[in-house]
Amino acid sequence: MKRLRVDRWTGQLLVASSSRPATPGVAAALRSRRCLSTTTTTRHQSAVAAEAVAPIYENAENVAPSDLRFPPLDKTLPANASSLPSPLPERALHSPKLAALHARLTLSPKIPLQTLARALVDASADPNPQFNNSNLAFVGQTLINYHASEWFMMHYPRLPMEVLYAAMKGLGGDPSLNKVAMSWGIEAAAAPGGEVDPGLLQFSLESTGDSILGFGYKRSEVNKLQNSKWRRGVASRVVLDNDFGEIVSRNFGVKHDGEEAEPTEKDITSYGNAVKRAISQKAHANCMRAVVGAVYTHCGRDAVKSFIKAHVLSRTIDLSKLFEFKHPTLELAMLCSREEFEPPVARLLSETGRLSRTPVFVVGIYSGKDKLGEGSGASLEQARWKASMNALKAWYLYSPGEDVRMPSDMLEEDAKPWEPAYIDIGEIISR
């Protein structure tokens, strides 16, 4: 992971005074913030309980008698609230949904409700970085991807880079974090606005906020890559692309690993098409990352590590289903030659129904006397392919053990001296 002085600049995220830009060091500078046309209520975000700014209330006299019998539920709604892009931070203290979400995640009392309310405001709802969750989401994403990549590299040191990217996306990517946010009971508001309940996730389906989230550089040849058959090697993905090896694109618009998602005319109007689902998925994922960023900002490094371990790393992902091979037997032979094992030989372990319509051959791949893998198939060729694939998976999915120590464990006080971990020399590059 690129080195980042995370603790230095999260402090200023929250007390976002207008003088300094919110997040220096992000590759693409955020759009210059447009200071809000000061309406009668000036908005400012502060970690400490917001001091009372007296928004103007409708005076109660001219309210019709029937309203008296059923007084409006939300008294604190100022008259001009709907003109603001997102609810006022002070309203967070009176939102039952927000308090319920705070308690449901058993967040520490050090995290104020205003920060949680801010985590629920997406960049597409409120472009002003001082009031949306893009900064917190950026911190959260850095931490989640750091802990996830560390977990994978320590537990499965021989994973090929492509499979590591797929595993990282399976654990910390948008689809997975969207499911985590849903499992927290986060509901989305139909449309963003100042009058919305601060406990709802606010993002707009039409105007996509252009918050750049994550590392990676904009490739100049991005359209060539998508249209023609240009090859994008793994090395270039490590350097240029984001944490999951996907192309970073300037205009936020919805990208699924490169192909341009042009919503047709019909798509834009009907609710629930692929583009809108992707926008909602990204908003939920960013909200979850913002909560992780808030936990880090208020409770520190250990708290966020246990939070990520409890909510993200505890999810299961079957790594053996992420592999797709092209020439398994050839690759196994190259592996054995590289490691100076005897060349692999396929042997028939057991078979049944050779002349019938549904034969089963169980083939084992042996290197000298040792058995590397075993596979069964309807034909000898398929069984041999499967056996060599299983042998390769057994090689790539080697694990030192569940309780292998991680570099981040060294940050605790009484950490034992570090034993060098096993680092693999790399996967087999074959034709």
């Binding site: 396929a346 042997r347 000298g368 040792d370 075993e374 090689w395 053990g401």
Partner: protein, 235 residues
């Protein structure tokens, strides 16, 4: 006397006389008499009144494990396919604690099938279990010429010239036989001229495909998809 569980070798020839009937126990004899199907008097699994004794299999030895008074660990590898998360002993890196602690190799290999356990297992067990060498090789193209690496540059040039000059007579097989190398090597060195490929391979191939009916075409596509699924591990 151990007898593997196989179908009882009841001969079903018709010529058996009724004497076979008297040998079976009295109760089943009455049942056999009453049933015309058993005129031959032969008792088979297919007949309804089969003998229950054949199904009376003793329970698995582990049920008789000595009810010792203390906890004990038994070693009972399952009869199932090995999982890819069990790294073979050979694949363990040198620094791995499991290798350093000198675990006996066959213990881990045993998580595969003990029947075909690794020959390095302790001596008395190898007498029964076949070693790796006895198992028949699969699809071994022991093409003796495959590993002949004595061709020089001139040979390759000569081979190219011959091939381009007269692709029909100097076919890949004849060149391989002539230079004593594998067919794959010849094809790697030289490619037939375009029109020859067109005439001999591409056109007849396309012509054959046109004659295919929908069933055959779908079968071929299904076979192609099956290979893709296999490579994705879905099959």
């Amino acid at each position: 006397m151990e007898a593997t569980l196989t179908r009882p070798t009841a001969c079903c020839c018709r010529a058996l006389t009724s004497s076979a009937l008297t040998s079976s126990s009295s109760t089943s004899r009455l049942a056999a008499l009453s049933r015309p199907s058993l005129l031959s008097g032969v008792r088979q699994k297919s007949t309804k009144a089969r003998h229950k004794a054949a199904l009376n299999i003793p329970p698995h030895p582990t049920f008789f494990a000595d009810r010792s008074s203390e906890d004990h660990i038994i070693f009972n590898p399952p009869s199932s396919a090995p999982s890819v998360f069990h790294t073979p002993f050979k694949f363990l890196p040198k620094s791995d604690p499991r290798r350093r602690a000198m675990f006996d190799a066959h213990l881990f290999a045993s998580s595969v099938t003990t029947k075909f356990a690794n020959p390095t297992s302790s001596s008395e067990s190898s007498s029964t279990a076949p070693t790796a060498e006895d198992l028949p090789k699969v699809l071994e193209r022991d093409d003796p010429m495959a590993k002949n690496h004595s061709l020089t540059k001139e040979d390759v040039e000569e081979m190219r010239r011959l091939r381009l000059e007269d692709p029909v007579n100097n076919s890949v097989k004849s060149l391989a036989k002539q230079f004593g190398c594998s067919v794959m090597f010849v094809m790697m060195c030289v490619r037939a001229p375009a029109e020859h490929r067109e005439k001999v391979h591409v056109l007849p191939h396309q012509a054959a495909r046109e004659r295919w009916g929908p069933k055959k075409r779908e079968a071929r596509e299904a076979r192609q998809r099956r290979v893709e699924m296999l490579m994705k591990g879905e099959l």
